[in-house]
């Protein structure tokens, strides 16, 4: 766990080196982790030192500044890409019941899924839209700041071993068919139908440093804000507010909320438990 180079006697040193590393990364590569949860960053960086047999953060910083590939390695460790299809089935149920009828009233609409990771969530959304007969009426943008996961998301290829869990979630979420209707098996993996991915534009976008998307009807950003400090969470909720059309919908992760943020009164609550909000018409 705790890296040998750092222990109870030099906690201050560790914190100083961490702060310097975040500055260095920002100045060199433009990725801004300065307002991510400090403890989370500390754990991940110590973990990274451990598996790469580096003796100090300063040593890691030296290599990161000179070698993009080393930075990309750390980026993978800092961006937690854990995800699954139809994660939190109750959320998808609520989406189907409460939001789909609203979307149906639009002739054409835009969805932005921020922090898409390896794509499981956005394929889930595409399947839901397909089952509701709305896939042809929309454009879906799926973004992440880690290019490596975006490549995986574009492929839409997943391990067969994970599918069982995905099937279970799909059923619990109120899926109308069989999940296997949407993919083909191939050796040890499954590949999701092109019909789904054709509707999705995958793009590199950093929630901390990049700009708004225009006139989006539905934003999903789940399990990303939990990694941010409060001030940064506020900024990103502001970015979502500015990207949404009036009456546009914002969906956050089950443990994320707009409560206590300065945007709280600018949204109506659609589903308190599933963290679904609607931008007020001002």
């Amino acid at each position: 766990m705790t890296q040998d180079a750092y222990n109870e006697s030099n906690t201050d040193l560790l914190n100083i080196e961490l702060q310097l590393l975040m500055e260095a990364i920002y100045l060199r590569y433009g990725y801004d982790f300065r307002n991510y949860s400090k403890t989370h960053i500390k754990r991940r960086v110590l973990h990274h030192l451990g598996i790469n047999m580096l003796s100090s953060i300063t040593q890691l910083q030296d290599r990161i500044l000179r070698d993009r590939a080393v930075f990309n390695g750390l980026l993978d460790d800092l961006s937690i890409n854990v995800t699954e299809m139809f994660r939190d089935p109750e959320f998808y149920k609520s989406l189907r019941e409460k939001i789909i009828p609203k979307l149906r009233t639009y002739a054409y609409f835009k969805i932005w899924q921020a922090g898409c990771s390896t794509g499981e969530e956005v394929y889930s959304i595409a399947i839901l839209l397909k089952e509701e007969g709305l896939l042809d009426r929309c454009q879906v943008y799926a973004t992440d700041f880690n290019r490596k996961v975006l490549e995986i998301a574009k492929e839409g290829v997943y391990q067969k071993s994970e599918i069982e869990q995905f099937e279970r979630n799909y059923e619990l979420s109120g899926g109308k068919n069989k999940l296997s209707d949407y993919y083909k098996s191939r050796y040890g993996s499954v590949i999701f139908n092109r019909e789904l991915s054709n509707k999705i534009v995958f793009a590199d976008h950093n929630l901390v440093t990049d700009k708004v998307f225009a006139d989006v009807n539905l934003i999903l950003c789940r399990n990303v804000l939990i990694y941010f400090e409060k001030s940064l969470q506020e900024n990103v909720i502001g970015l979502f507010y500015d990207s949404l059309v009036p009456s546009g919908i914002l969906c956050l992760g089950t443990k994320e909320s707009i409560k206590f943020s300065r945007y709280e009164h600018l949204f109506d609550v659609v589903d308190e438990k599933q963290k679904i909000y609607k931008k007020k018409i001002m």
Binding site: N7, S37, T39, R43, I80
Partner: protein, 189 residues
């Protein structure tokens, strides 16, 4: 002066916590933070029940929430619970650790970083080895460490691993744990 108690429990932990937590009196001067392995299940009903039973307020820990005395906090199912240096909670969905999320090690390590010597860590019954390394970290940072004695635990593996790795100061029967914690917290005030 102790500023917080962290507790980890797995198999058999529900029963153990039902005995320990209601013994903390109203006005207990430190927060109690608990990781209980219960799989993916919603723990709303359980928390409601515990809240009824306990003089302290029982609730799920929320992201960014300031940690306050008078509360017993539980990690939400399927998230790791971390303590920040400014004594607020943060949550992550990192990989499972010891096949567990929430993981006791993850909570204990971050708690040791934040509270250093002002912390008491307790490992209760469980069938794995989560919490052992975390308890050692607490000890390394000068905190007080305690386990439920393996022979008195429904499942001895977890306190047993903690005993081996962390050499805790106290190994107590379930019935004696709350009393000892109350004594420790009050004695240095």
């Amino acid at each position: 002066m102790y500023k917080a108690i962290v507790m980890g429990a797995s198999y058999g932990g529900l029963e153990a916590l039902k005995i320990i937590l209601p013994q903390f009196p109203a006005g207990f001067p430190v927060p109690v933070i608990v990781v209980l392995h219960i799989g993916d299940h919603d723990n709303e009903i359980f928390l409601g029940y515990m809240n009824e039973m306990c003089p302290l307020q029982v609730k799920e820990a929320e992201s960014n929430e300031p940690i306050r005395k008078g509360f017993i906090y539980f990690a939400p199912p399927n998230y790791h619970l971390l303590i920040e240096a400014d004594f607020t909670f943060s949550l992550t969905t990192d990989e499972k650790h010891n096949y567990s999320r929430p993981s006791i090690d993850v909570l204990f390590e971050s708690a040791a970083w934040a509270y250093t010597k002002n912390l008491i860590g307790v490992v209760l019954t469980g069938a794995n080895s989560d919490g052992a390394l975390g308890l050692k970290t607490i000890k390394d940072y000068g905190g007080m460490t305690m386990i439920q004695s393996p022979c008195s635990a429904l499942s001895p593996a977890m306190p047993g691993a903690a005993l081996k790795i962390a050499h805790p100061e106290f190994s107590l029967k379930l019935e004696g744990i709350a009393d000892k914690l109350i004594e420790l917290v009050n004695s240095d005030r």
